[in-house]
């Protein structure tokens, strides 16, 4: 028996989540060491640029101090561990399999040592398309990071494709 083709993956539960803001927790204060270690990891095995770890050098830059690499994740190592991530395989059923549909970032204020970043995310957009893998649902999540002064730091839009 062939499986009936689904007409939509957008359940009422998903519809109800669109546009609803989910305030996350604030980050721990960003430390110089967090920035230095991130920079070392992403430049390994070369020495990272001094603006990420040498205070005196960074003071002379246009940033007047150390800044974080723009792509740095400041929400790592929470004591309360998040639930398991979504698995790319899902349950194997149509609509539960997931592909990474890409990311978009807009950067505003730089992240500096001492900053405390707050995150706020929402399901911004849901749409469907027929593709070569059949029906595909695109979920776009928008996440804003704001610093302790209320300045917007980063806006991310990440797309997950369910098929």
């Amino acid at each position: 028996m062939t499986q009936e083709k689904p007409k939509t993956y957008v359940t009422p539960e998903i519809k109800a989540r669109i546009g609803v803001e989910n305030p996350g927790q604030a980050s721990s204060p960003i430390e110089e060491s967090d920035i230095r270690k991130w920079a070392i990891a992403v430049y390994w095995p070369a020495q990272p640029p001094r603006v990420f770890w040498d205070v005196e050098h960074a003071k002379k830059s246009r940033w007047k101090g150390i800044i974080a690499p723009q792509e740095m994740n400041v929400f790592t190592w929470p004591a309360e561990r998040p639930k398991q991530r979504l698995s790319a395989a899902g349950t194997g059923q149509p609509g539960s399999r997931i592909l990474n549909g890409g990311s978009e970032f807009e950067y505003f204020a730089p992240i500096r040592p001492g900053d405390v970043i707050s995150s706020n995310s929402k399901l911004a957009e849901v749409f469907e398309r027929e593709g070569k893998m059949g029906l595909m649902m695109f979920q776009v999540t928008q996440t804003d990071w704001t610093n302790q002064k209320g300045e917007l730091v980063k806006r991310s839009r990440t797309t997950l494709i369910f098929y």
Binding site: D34, K37, W38, I40, A41, V42, Y43, W44, P45, P49, R50, V51, A58, S61, R62, W63, P69, Q70, E71, N73, T76, W77, A89, N100, G101, G102, S103, E104, F105, E106, Y107, P110
Partner: protein, 140 residues
């Protein structure tokens, strides 16, 4: 310091590449700073179980390499305004990953000098793994 100026940038210009041959030395360090301990990035058997040839590197490490490419070009002044990319391929152990870029357009907007750049990472076979683009500010 970068001696780059807005005047010296030309559309179509290719950026100097940023290259890494990656293995667990890179991935484990990235796992540590990004708190990203996933079997698929740590264990060849886990990769094989999902039909891959082994463990593979984090997609976000490729995102970082594309930022490194821009920083290598613009120096300490580097400021990325916008960035987008799609992860299309995996970075396996001992692959040589090259981040490449090409200036699409330079222009002034809202009092800022900007350049749009096409970006991607590719492996040693020339397969594009993470294509994307960015808009950067040129301060000089």
């Amino acid at each position: 310091m970068s001696n780059l100026t807005f005047a010296s940038i030309s559309e179509g210009q290719e950026l100097a590449t940023f290259q890494r041959t990656t293995d667990f030395m890179h991935w484990n360090r990235y796992a540590a700073v990004n708190d990203e301990f996933v079997q698929l990035h740590m264990d060849d058997d886990a990769g094989k179980k999902v039909g891959q040839k082994g463990a593979f590197g984090m997609g976000n490490l490729q995102v970082a390499y594309l930022h490194n490419l821009l920083r290598q070009w613009l120096g300490d002044d580097c400021w990325v305004k916008k960035f987008r990319c799609e992860l299309r391929g995996m970075n396996f152990k001992n692959d040589t990953l090259t981040a490449k870029g090409k200036v699409l357009k330079k222009y002034e907007q809202g009092g800022e000098k900007l350049a749009d750049v096409e970006l991607w990472t590719e492996n040693q076979n020339g397969q594009k793994l993470c294509p994307g683009s960015a808009t950067v500010v040129i301060y000089s």
